[in-house]
Subunit: 480 residues, 2 copies
């Protein structure tokens, strides 16, 4: 059924070269969050351009996004460029945009790495590659290059037109990328049939997954203000209405210790669980032990893996992040803070309406505060929001990826969602009016953002094979 | 009745010289909280020694207190010395210890001062002296020197033996002073009949006061701990018991928005208000407007001045200071803090027992937390405590100070307490087994610790006269 067996053989044959290319790429410390390393991020973009040219991509463009907005030390700091390129431009073929990012999280040997973080260490015994960026997200980015090279060197045409969209600012909020996608939707990205993002992970360490949903996030702050300045608790304690006392009452009314959101109307907006959806959770490779290992504790609110996953993926949650304006250091300061901001956020899921949620949250806080009959003032506001994303895991793109996974791994992938957000997913879907597929390459224990980030060689190789087979199955499928 | 009219005349005569001496003293930036200025604190101690020698004090000793304990930048940083000295040593006379401090709060012109803070500016129009330390506490310290000089230059013997105890670390926690008082109680301070502290203020701006009580302070922290490290709310929100959620419930159970302490048994320990004590509040010069001006707001929990003062002085209060370990900056961070410390304190009053209070507080927090059925852990502990202090405002020392005030100001002083603590008061009382009198020189609006700290010239002059008359009335009174 898969006519490109030679492509797989080529991937196996070129494995040493592919590892070598990844080694060259991760050597460049492209830390987008460190202004002083911005030239390195730019250098890595140019490294990618060289690779794209070598392989035969065309129409290669470095899209400059302008000056980075404050807060920055260097007011003229330029954002790293987005690398756009194409391979093939055949109107009879489908067109796929692949997204990835070439910037990385900070890392230094002193953080506790076993080897230099910007030097690819190949552990022959464990058959893994350790380096910052190995799994997040340089490995998958180089993976796409390798797939195209393998097709080419096997003597096959690529079954689709491929467009790359690689950014250098993902670890620092993807500043400027939204605008570029809007700008290029009908230009560079014109005619796109599907988007594939390879920038997340398997749930565990053994079973491949495809990801079809992400929660959104509405972040709020409640500000309670009273005295004109911070006061001394000796002089004012007991005779002044303290903003912190009011704030604790408001924050305490939002969620209980069992995780239940106490704001009226929020649960009513959550899409009911259908039998069909519930079935998607059957047999997903995940245990309570996995959660406990990840949290470093035994503090789960649920014992059943299905309950845990549903509450991470398909139910909303409310977290209390902290308080700004109050005493927050070590020791004992006898201050009565004059103005305090409570920070909390709600992870959103289908079918929650963001604007309606804001109204419910603000009305709730106002009501709780007014019952306190406090002479202070209280204001709750949205700081930022990002919508949830949900895809049909049975659409053409997911079906193609599922077939590809079965071919490579011999198992049907788990269909997963994630509790966090990847805002660009929704932008692609909305702006290019296509489906988006999240096709991870690495495992759940790869340690993206941690010390000793790694990518197993088998995930690198099988990930490329899965990408290669996905392009074929998507190309030959009916519809998009 | 007061045989020393010439002393008052001498004080008036020497006013320009006394202002000049204060000017020399405040010129030295003796900021105890700034390590780099420690040599200036020491220099100011030596300046005092020079003045003591000039006036004729004897047995002048600079008591070194050793190395300042961490946290310090310089591990060998020496504590500033305590300046001990005597004037007179007649076994037939009573002996009074006067306490003050020569160190000051930080100050710089850039903070918004109208004139250089370490340069005494004499405002002839407003008849006030502006400088850091003018009222807190260099003015009163130099005042004692001047009183002795005025007695001497008028040709009178001082009616008491005077011992000075001036420290240079008060604004930084009086480190080492307790130990010195314990050490010298039966040595340098042997035979002390009374202690007089001039380091507080009138309640308002027109009526002199004597202060006979201070609240204590028990400072607590409740630590709630769960996950092994801070977590991401996208991945863990809704499936993990969040320490912040539990903490807010515990903090919210301590006190309500009306200032009522909700811990069982605390109110039962408070001494009942007697008719006699209630009378002490009659006619005290204080209004709701005074409180609103001080807090910069209209957030008082009481409207009646008597209620306000009683809740500041003779009832306990519970303040929530803040949270350590949670997100506390500007902006929006989606962290689930793993370990949070809630900070709160209780101002204590007669007849609260500190140890019993600790037990009640800890039992209350444990009980509230256990009701949450959280898998996290909760621990409440005392960080530090300092007992309340209360004196008999009708004892010999207060009666003498009251007569002195009437003589100088023509009014009977208001008898006040304070909501805050001056821990050294209790140490003097307990270690020297004497009564302690708080005899303020400055006004409630002097701005100790603020910009444009000032001392009215009339308060300086009348304060010295009050001190001088106090020494006489105390000397001639029956008993101690
Ligand atoms: Zn990534
Ligand atoms: Zn990342
Ligand atoms: Zn002071
Ligand atoms: Zn002070």
């Amino acid at each position: 059924e898969f006519p490109y067996g030679k492509v797989f053989a080529k991937i196996d044959e070129l494995k040493p070269q592919f590892i070598d290319t990844l080694g060259k790429a991760v050597k460049i410390p492209a830390v987008s969050g460190d202004e002083s390393l911005r030239p390195m991020v730019v250098r890595k973009a140019h490294f990618l351009v060289g690779e794209l040219q070598r392989i035969g991509f065309t129409d290669i463009q470095l899209k400059h996004l302008g000056t980075q907005p404050p807060p920055v030390e260097d007011e003229n700091l330029q954002l790293p460029p987005v690398v756009l390129s194409r391979y093939g431009n055949d109107p009879k073929k489908k067109t796929i945009v692949v997204y990835g990012h070439y910037d990385v999280q900070p890392a230094s040997f002193e953080d506790g790495w076993d080897t230099e973080p910007f030097e690819l260490y190949v552990d022959e015994e464990k058959q893994l590659m350790r380096a910052r960026g190995s799994t997040d997200d340089t490995g998958p980015v180089i993976g796409w290059f390798n797939v195209v090279q393998a097709y080419k060197e096997s003597g096959f045409e690529l079954p689709v037109n491929l467009i790359t969209c690689f950014e250098g600012m993902e670890e620092s909020g993807s500043i400027g990328l939204d605008g570029l996608i809007v700008e290029e939707a009908d230009k560079y990205f014109k005619g796109t049939d599907a988007v594939c993002i390879s920038d997340n992970y398997w749930l565990g360490t053994t079973k491949p997954v495809l990801t079809y949903g992400l929660r959104g996030c509405n972040y709020y702050q409640t500000t309670i203000e009273g005295p004109g300045a911070d006061l001394h608790s000796g002089i004012f304690g007991g005779i002044i209405a303290e903003p912190m006392v009011d704030l604790v009452q408001v924050l305490g009314s939002l969620v209980d210790s069992k995780g239940k959101i106490l704001i009226d109307g929020v649960d009513d907006m959550v899409a009911p669980l259908t039998e069909k959806e519930a079935k998607l959770y059957d047999g997903i490779d995940f245990t309570l032990d996995d959660l406990n290992a990840a949290s470093g504790s035994d503090t789960s609110l649920y014992k059943n893996p299905k309950d845990i996953l549903m509450h991470r993926w398909r139910y909303p949650s409310l977290s209390l992040h902290g308080v700004e304006g109050a005493f927050s250091s070590q020791g004992a300061k006898t201050v009565v803070p004059a103005k305090v901001h409570g920070k909390f956020s709600i992870r959103t899921v289908p079918d929650m309406d963001s604007e309606k949620l804001n109204k419910l949250v603000i009305a709730h806080c106002d009501k709780v505060f007014s019952k306190l009959e406090s002479p202070n003032t209280c204001k709750t506001e949205l700081i930022h929001d990002g919508d949830y994303w949900i895809s049909d895991p049975n659409n053409t793109s997911f079906t193609a990826a599922s077939k590809a996974t079965e071919l490579v791994y011999g198992v049907s992938p788990d269909l997963t969602r994630e509790g966090g957000s990847i805002p660009i997913t929704l932008t692609f879907e909305q702006q290019l009016k296509t489906s988006v597929l999240l096709l991870p390459m690495g495992r759940g224990d790869d340690g993206a953002h941690s010390v000793n980030e790694k990518l197993d060689i088998s995930n690198y190789v099988n990930g490329m094979k899965t990408m290669a087979a996905y392009l074929h199955y998507y190309a030959v499928a009916e519809g998009k």
